[in-house]
Symmetry: none
Subunit: 175 residues, 4 copies
Amino acid sequence: MAEIAATAGIGKGTIYEYFNSKEDLFFAVFEWLSHKIASAATVRISALGGSAAERLVALNDSVVCSVLKMMDMYSLVMEFWAASSSSVMRKRFKTAFRQAYRDFRAIVTSLIQEGIERGEFTSGVNPESIAAALVGMWDALLLQAWFDDAFEPLKTSKDFLVILLVGLAAEKQKL
Amino acid sequence: MAEIAATAGIGKGTIYEYFNSKEDLFFAVFEWLSHKIASAATVRISALGGSAAERLVALNDSVVCSVLKMMDMYSLVMEFWAASSSSVMRKRFKTAFRQAYRDFRAIVTSLIQEGIERGEFTSGVNPESIAAALVGMWDALLLQAWFDDAFEPLKTSKDFLVILLVGLAAEKQKL
Amino acid sequence: MAEIAATAGIGKGTIYEYFNSKEDLFFAVFEWLSHKIASAATVRISALGGSAAERLVALNDSVVCSVLKMMDMYSLVMEFWAASSSSVMRKRFKTAFRQAYRDFRAIVTSLIQEGIERGEFTSGVNPESIAAALVGMWDALLLQAWFDDAFEPLKTSKDFLVILLVGLAAEKQKL
Amino acid sequence: MAEIAATAGIGKGTIYEYFNSKEDLFFAVFEWLSHKIASAATVRISALGGSAAERLVALNDSVVCSVLKMMDMYSLVMEFWAASSSSVMRKRFKTAFRQAYRDFRAIVTSLIQEGIERGEFTSGVNPESIAAALVGMWDALLLQAWFDDAFEPLKTSKDFLVILLVGLAAEKQKL
DNA sequence: TATGAATGAGTCTTCATTCAT
DNA sequence: CATGAATGAAGACTCATTCAT
């Protein structure tokens, strides 16, 4: 708290004028970052036209690039994960994360659903499973990039998405 | 440390007979869990016969199931992630995680490589990208399961793998 | 530290607002006592007139009396000696003590030197040796007084100084 | 205690077969060193012939040289001083030191007394004061030597003793 | 008699929080 | 509103001592 106050150029006591506790401040940062990532990632999708596949590719680029731009904040994400598993803040964070993941999966799910309805993607697919895997992949590739400077999350995700889109479209080709 | 000693039914000082510091103990737990997860997940692959696709499916089941079995320890994984991003232990954990991910990706990479060489998978694929995404997916689905009791990582991963395998095999079908 | 804080009527943490560590506090007390003893003992010499012998006697009285007045703090001196011989603080204390003794010997040395130049003391004497012995004698008589309530350092030092001054003046008498 | 046991090449528990506590061991070391110093210093005096002055010079050499030879143990002396001023061992050490100083002063006192009786030294002197100052000087010069490698206790003590002996003999010369 | 693994009271130090100004 | 000196609970770690072998 002392370091935060010093960095902010205010007195230690002043923090408590705006936040009731360190936990509250921490959670506020979590919410701020959640919104920042979510909006940065989804801002283009709604406006974007094109096929479902094209929009998935665009979303992939958008998510990976926007998180890469704030990679220095990725350590915060890991702290939030840890906060959700231990400490007094467990419930608060766990609930928030669950909701954040559900929201984000819902966006991707509807995108895939749209692709199926338009006949772009095979109807044999479970949109929610694909969405969960994609959302998770973004998390996980960025995690690996955090550990390994030699790792290229954008290239990896693009390579992967090409194959996945082939899989999603395959049945259609058969027809 | 006091709580750990109490839980272990030993005196506080006794811990220090076996570990030099809290950090050392923490890291030892990390290594123990790393090995446990790695061996539990990969034990069958080398012995397993069948096509590359079948072996990928088996690996998927093995990884997801074995981690699900120790889901109560998953919170530890998150603490280790957090330890790698902040705290004095950063370097130690970051290095260990980087290596662990590289090792695990290498296993999956060689499995996919094998599939390509046998003609099962399209040669247009980058095995490392697919491996990274798969490894990440396992991490991420289990993370989502941690947050959300309603989430079904095994079903999700299986659904997803089916589509992915179609994508991987596509070129061959074209021929 | 807890006991010090309690005695001072402040919280434990408050000490750390003013001193970085127990060692720093300990050393600060050492410096405080050093200055206190040095200034209490030497305050009058420069202002004092009279022969070198008279000034030596006056210095003797001043040193012995002023230290006797703070005899309750003499145990601290012994702790500082111990700190200079063992513990992590060795270098710090050893250096400070060396300097303190050199400074104090220099004062006495110049007093004796003055006596020689004025022709009061024999020129055959080594001023530095006499100074070191005198400074040591003060230390040592007070040490013995610490151990032995029946010991009279002031009387002892005066008796001794009389004889010493005779010795210092002897050559002159021969002339 | 662990370090002592290791250095002695025995088990930690074995120390407690011979000493009831760390304090007891510490005190035993104190007594051992006391005797060692005392006997090393006084062994020659009784056997020594010559004038009182000659014997004082011999004693000075003997004391200073023998302590210089075990200068590495001088830090122990300081720890003993500290033990006499703080800690639970205060009384024990204080009493022992008082006695040790009294004994040692008695030896020197009788030497000077002898000198007076033989007519070597002036009868105007207080033998006990001179003895106390001499004994203290030995302590103190060695203390200064501990702090300062450039300090020469043997030379200093000899220089000083010459002057002191002149003072002691002065009255006689007058006669 | 000798041992060393186990112990826990005691110690230093940190840091989120408070409150008088 | 803002501050930062004061606080003390909490935590990591040490080490003299014990006791089963």
